[in-house]
């Protein structure tokens, strides 16, 4: 057995060495590849015999420029975020939020929602874990609203496809909705509208924190695993999204959607939210639709409202939360978040 132990520790230091080597090679390679995206798309286009003045040529160029660009952005940022997430376990986030006042606590909760790993299937244990450790209800809600809605994947996709302005807007508005909704729920003092069994749960304080002393090697591994997981999950949606974007880029008339989803159709915002709410997909899954909407003349506010309602409010999540929240609190939560999203849509459409 002792031989085996020595071998393992030897392997571990080798692995860290290997990681540092690989990363220092990967960073310049990444930047070089990123700088070669346009020549690459030009080259692919030259093989087809079309040129950019034709619709088909433009569509091909768009596809072979955007697909590698988004994939590169995803790989780089997701790897980095995978490492960042190892510093923010739910347990750590919870202890940062315990006993925080409304306001400060809500802002902190919404921001931590971006960096704390979160899967909507863990929403209930997380919710109870937060409350039982003394995180106020309103602060917990800010976290629960921000975590799925404002995430690196949504931001990268928006940045890659529509530019940094749209990504920054989405980030700011998503955080604002999460903070304000949480504060309102906190002020309503609805602690009695939790399901009864939730009150009976008392969780011990000596909970295990897996990654308190995590090695850098495992952090790099976590980053890499996160890249594999995300790319595997969403590459298909990204490719479809860009393909759809490429096709409509040249072929569908520019103002196709303007009459039904343009700025002047005020009812398009509530319609977008009502349509988005029962839909359940990730940020990546909604991108093809968003691409079509924006490309074809739908107003930005309407489109962002649609995207937010798909990601932040979904029937499956509401059903899961039903296990811990009474109907009144669920209804309050949904209507506050939906109103926030509506407001975002209207404000955007009126100022842009």
């Amino acid at each position: 057995m002792s031989n085996a132990t020595i071998d393992t520790s030897q392997q571990k230091s080798n692995a860290l060495f290997y990681w540092i080597g690989a990363i220092s090679l990967a960073i310049p390679t990444w930047f070089y590849t990123y700088s070669q995206l346009i020549p690459f798309a030009d080259f692919i286009l030259s093989l087809t015999g079309y040129d950019r003045s034709s619709h088909t040529g433009e569509a091909i160029h768009f596809f072979f420029y955007d697909t590698p660009k988004i994939m590169l952005l995803l790989a780089g940022v997701v790897f980095f975020m995978g490492i960042v997430q190892t510093f923010f376990s739910p347990e750590r986030t919870r202890s940062l939020l315990a006993g925080r006042r409304l306001g400060v606590g809500n802002s902190l909760a919404a921001s931590l929602g971006i960096v704390t790993p979160f899967c909507s299937c863990s929403a209930v244990p997380l919710f109870i874990g937060f409350l039982s450790a003394g995180v106020p209800l309103g602060v917990t809600f800010s976290f629960l609203i921000a975590a799925p809605m404002v995430n690196e994947i949504a931001l990268i996709l928006l940045f890659g496809l529509f530019g940094w302005q749209v990504a920054v807007l989405y980030l700011g508005l998503g955080l604002t909705i999460a903070i304000v909704s949480g504060m309102i729920i906190g002020h309503l003092k609805m602690e009695n509208d939790l399901q009864d069994w939730v009150h009976d749960i008392h969780i011990g304080k000596d909970l295990p924190v897996n990654n308190a002393l995590m090695s850098w090697e495992s952090r790099f591994n976590a980053g890499w695993n996160y890249v594999k997981e995300i790319i595997y999950k969403i590459w298909f949606y990204v490719v479809i999204g860009i393909a759809v974007g490429a096709i409509i880029h040249g072929f569908v008339p520019e103002d196709f959607m303007t009459s039904i989803m343009g700025k002047d159709a005020w009812w398009s915002v509530p319609a977008a939210v009502a349509l988005g709410m029962p839909m359940y997909t990730s940020a990546a899954g909604v991108i093809p639709i968003v691409e079509v909407l924006i490309g074809k003349g739908a107003a930005l506010g309407t489109t962002l409202a649609f995207m937010m309602s798909v990601i932040a409010l979904s029937l499956p999540e509401i059903l899961i939360l039903r296990k811990v929240l009474k109907t009144k609190l669920i209804a309050t939560f949904v209507s506050i978040v939906a109103s926030g999203i509506l407001l975002v849509g209207f404000i955007f459409n009126s100022i842009l």
Binding site: R94, G129, W197, I203
Partner: protein, 80 residues
């Protein structure tokens, strides 16, 4: 026979975790009593905040994400 519980509400990661432990135990020829816990109040009762989580002999050894193969092997050799 020792009991290993996998806590989770049925997402893909939970199923993968269960499979990984099963295969690892079979590879090592260790007989374990592998239980999948889906009842929310029991999951929460362990104080777990992210699933899948793994409980060995009533002690939480892991929570959040699929555990590494090497970690699973460590559990099996430490506890059995």
């Amino acid at each position: 026979m020792q009991t290993i519980k996998v806590l989770g509400t049925g997402c893909a990661n939970c199923k993968n975790t269960l499979e990984l432990i099963k295969t690892a135990a079979e590879a090592k020829d260790i007989k374990i009593n592998l239980i999948k816990v889906e009842e929310m109040s029991e999951i929460v009762g362990y104080g777990v905040m992210s699933t899948p989580a793994v409980v060995i002999n009533d002690k939480v050894v892991h929570s959040g994400g699929i555990p590494d193969r090497t970690i699973i092997n460590d559990w099996l050799s430490d506890n059995f």
